[in-house]
Symmetry: C2
Subunit: 714 residues, 2 copies
Amino acid sequence: MLARLFCWMLSLACLALSPGVHAEDGYDLWLRYAPADAARADVISRHATAIVAPGDSATLKAATDELQRAVAGMTGTKPALSAAPSSGALWLATPKTAPSLPVKMQALGPEGYAIRSTQVEGKPVTLIAANSDIGLLHGAYHWLRLAQTGANLDALDIMSAPKIGLRLLNHWDNLNGTVERGYAGQSIWDWWRLPDYKGPRYTDYARANASIGINGTVLNNVNAKADSLTAPYIAKAAALADVFRPYGIKVYLSVKWTAPMELDGLKTADPMDPAVAAWWKAKADEIYRAIPDFGGFLVKANSEGQPGPQDYKRTHADGANMLAAAVKPHGGIIMWRAFVYAHDNPDDRAKQAYSDFKPLDGQFADNVIVQVKNGAIDFQPREPFHPLFGAMPKTPLMMEFQITKEYLGQSTHLTYLGPLFQEVLEADTYAKGKGSTVAKVIDGSLDGHRLTGIAGVANIGVDRDWSGSIFNQADWYAFGRMAWDTGLSADAVAREWAAMTFSPDPRVVDPVVAMMMGSREAAVDYMTPLGLAHVMATGHHYGPGPWISNLARPEWNPVYYHKADAAGIGFDRTRTGSDAVSQYAPPLARRWAKPATTPEQDLLWFHHLPWTYRLKSGDTLWDGMVHHYDRGVAYVADMQRSWDSLRPLIDAERFAQTEAFLRIQRREAQWWRDASIAYFQSVNRLPLPAGAAAPEHDLNWYKALSFPYAPGHN
Amino acid sequence: MLARLFCWMLSLACLALSPGVHAEDGYDLWLRYAPADAARADVISRHATAIVAPGDSATLKAATDELQRAVAGMTGTKPALSAAPSSGALWLATPKTAPSLPVKMQALGPEGYAIRSTQVEGKPVTLIAANSDIGLLHGAYHWLRLAQTGANLDALDIMSAPKIGLRLLNHWDNLNGTVERGYAGQSIWDWWRLPDYKGPRYTDYARANASIGINGTVLNNVNAKADSLTAPYIAKAAALADVFRPYGIKVYLSVKWTAPMELDGLKTADPMDPAVAAWWKAKADEIYRAIPDFGGFLVKANSEGQPGPQDYKRTHADGANMLAAAVKPHGGIIMWRAFVYAHDNPDDRAKQAYSDFKPLDGQFADNVIVQVKNGAIDFQPREPFHPLFGAMPKTPLMMEFQITKEYLGQSTHLTYLGPLFQEVLEADTYAKGKGSTVAKVIDGSLDGHRLTGIAGVANIGVDRDWSGSIFNQADWYAFGRMAWDTGLSADAVAREWAAMTFSPDPRVVDPVVAMMMGSREAAVDYMTPLGLAHVMATGHHYGPGPWISNLARPEWNPVYYHKADAAGIGFDRTRTGSDAVSQYAPPLARRWAKPATTPEQDLLWFHHLPWTYRLKSGDTLWDGMVHHYDRGVAYVADMQRSWDSLRPLIDAERFAQTEAFLRIQRREAQWWRDASIAYFQSVNRLPLPAGAAAPEHDLNWYKALSFPYAPGHN
């Protein structure tokens, strides 16, 4: 023990010398396995004296490799693999390798696991039990999370299984290497050099996802190119699938509706045309020959200019079911997106998806799941949950969150999305009375669906830190953790992430988590307070553009969403307006029909109100808006102070990045506040409340700003 | 000593354990400073017991930091900084800090250095002497090169100073992050997050360049956007200049001729218009306020659709001189590219730059240098040197090499460019009789110019290994080393690079250098043997397209360059043809006028010959071509065998990358060979020589290939 400790201290000293030890650049994400202090290293060592993992699958090897690498990193000593449980060993077992495990195995399902401190022939061991090697891998990552976060490793008795079956990333990655709404550099898929070259990053991607329970990835943009279905690109996708398979991650592809016409000259893409159905059947067969466990297709059809079955007077169900028949023999599924709105439809954009899909409830094949964005517009800082949740009981609905922050500050704003995810998942649809939460809709429990899913639009790129900033990694982490367990709180997830990413030291975790937890509300405050939405600049959606009114389609213009005029502001979605409220269950429709009973956070989403409307604070609506803008800016300044106080406790490289990004966020929060106030004041001509500073520039200055090279806008 | 050795061995053991030690991923380039074996570590330690470097400039700190980091990496012990020379110390001194140095200081110039094993008060020290701290930095990197490559560190007596003043990288990087002809990922310039965020990669870029003597960088594409001259982008460039300054690297910008019209609404860009001259003067003043040591402008004008002075009936000299006047007060220069050819000029494209620029000799201002590509066409695997070299004695000419391998296999072919650089630099122009080499033209010695320069189009991107492959790093390295010392041989440079990049072990260096040295000739053989050129596919220039004849401009079509018909092949540039030979000095014009006296490597560049023409080998031209194609393919197969034999001596990650890329190169060399033979055979109807295999597919198969997402084509 002493000898090991000595070697450990010495190795720490030597490590510090070596240039081979790269700085903390964020590449290792929450899997850093940094050296623990001596006391903690000793605790971990005593609980990982050896690793017992009978079997030889690639997945089991991934689990034992990760455990060895992690324990070696944290303690300086790499635990040996041994055949039989010895005192202090980690024992990975399935019913195949250990018939009579002291665990209710059926409760674990195919992916879950149990972790239990127990004894084998009188020797204390930590048992990780599962029905499959994938379950063991998830269990190993859970134990490592406990080890990294300083948890007690004695008397463990944990059972965990995911409530949702499909936990997917959606990559909006293009074949030319750009990423739509990507703010972390180019695509990590090096399509050009695949399948020959499979760099180490693919494996690290799989490790990171497996560590948080993600079990599938859609490789290409929903605005898909037909080329991704050609033989060369199928071979490239197959090469990635080979890398991901041991980690329990399936590959999926987005498809373009007109692929049969573009690739093979068919005259039509009508889903009722036998030649079209045959083409997709043959294409599915071709894909499954290369990728036997291929997951299925994701489809964006008849949306924002994409072709689809409606071009042939067919319904979304007609289209989805034709594709479903093609993949069904192989066990594949179709994820059909409900994000639709039509240029020729004058109705409130927030209502159109419901109007299109609600009537189709019950018409989808049993291997189709409809993918619905969390809100009815488009990934805003805050939206009420999408009215389709709870409205299609006969159809499995899949949640689509956006991890990449198209509307929440993109790469440089610290706006932790955990609270947004939690708010949506906990939202009560009242579809079957109180407690019919969105979480219960998508986990299938509310309506008894076995096909369940949740997707997050990835924030991953080739930036060394994967996500464009260290703190953006927390959004990837939170999505995976909350997809596995929709009951987790954003706060608990943030604590795990901060401890693993920076240090388990509470002097670090507490302030970092405090910064994170209020950061999304701060973005709401400085961008879209009180239920405002979609007031971002055109196209790249970077920065404020509430004045924009010149775009071809009304629903592309911010003025369409805030409807500000001399008298008031807000979108009337009550009976006197678009009546979008009637798409929700009666208790909500009633609550949101009146300003007084509408939560102020959604006030202007549902109501057009006079500037003089009185908020609960006693402020007029206008004064309240200004106070929200100021509160958002002030929060960012507070984050800067908190971060600065952490300088002694954070490595230089990651400290400097966050410091620089907070400086940008502070400036841009002020810009949002000033530009918004300058514009709305030009409409309402009202004075600012006492103590509020005038905008730094006049409105024309803000209108004149342009950003021709804003990222993520392809 | 023993104690240190013990700690060192132990630390090596511990390092091996630690996940903190990242795999060899190529990021460290030739500055890995990997642990040396004990004997070598001891040698290095004895010659770096301490570092004496009086002074406190950022440049001096860069030098001492690098020495400490490197020695610590190689030996495990970090040498201390000490005030006075002690036994075994490295002593960095300038005349300012040590008035009477035992070195002819004037011979070192502003950037050069001396390294000498000497004594101070009886104590043996290694003196690094220079006239400036930048010289000391270069000297430090030279000493580290000796330490890394296993050189004897006793009795050193080295003096080195660059013959060429401007040693620049040209980045063809666009403001949207793409890189024209970039095969290593996006631009490393994170324009969007500059100037606030200056990531560590910028410093490592400066370190790498300083280590090989590069002293300037043109940040943006010669196909420039006017936006790069706006205030926000000047601030971004200034932030980079601040990072690079301590490393002796100046920042330059490419400019768009019509910027005054695009940015400020001027009615004209006529260089003789006072308002235009005043605009550039004011713009230069603005830039120098932000970047006091700004280098100057690089200009691509009236070339490939770019605007320029000829649009206003002015000459290139008129344009260059107007810009020169704007930067002159600040000590700036103008680099004016001679790469021009006009869509309305029916003359041989190879002749047009000469025809345009030769008459302007003597008309350029004294702070203008004309940048000339190494050959008259465009960075082909082989071209005769550009006829302008030696033809403009009154004008300083700057060499433009292309480090990124647009025409030599892009990111995945191992084609070391050192031999190409050496071949061009050693080429004799005969401008002032025998020995008037291209090197003497560009180093100014032939015609007595003080303004001298050499530029390399960078192969750098955000790929972790910077250059798209480990072996592509050698081209960056060779460019810098041969720019500093045009007399270095490609072989010597390859040996340095291989030793630093992989290991000084001759079992590694010898085979790696052997692979490298023949690799460029192999590419010539399988792509463009016997003087053929520009037969690559359209646009992306990836792969063969000798059949292409349908492009708008004749000189864009491969058939324009090879002129193959039933009777023969080759471009007649003698008096019976375009007479391009007459643009060269008489001895060369005479030599190249006749096939018999033309080196076979340039045969079809200068002559159109019957397929039955007899080569020196006795082969007919056609049989000889086929043999060259086969030789090229065979060389790649040999490289694969050599590399496979190195598996035990190379780290896994870098071994696997090169193994995969050689597999791609082998397949693509075969593709080049087969497609070229299939096409030329369709023209000449000749049988293949005995033993030559028929192409794998028929011509139509090769013609049908398309690569819509080929990289680098923006």
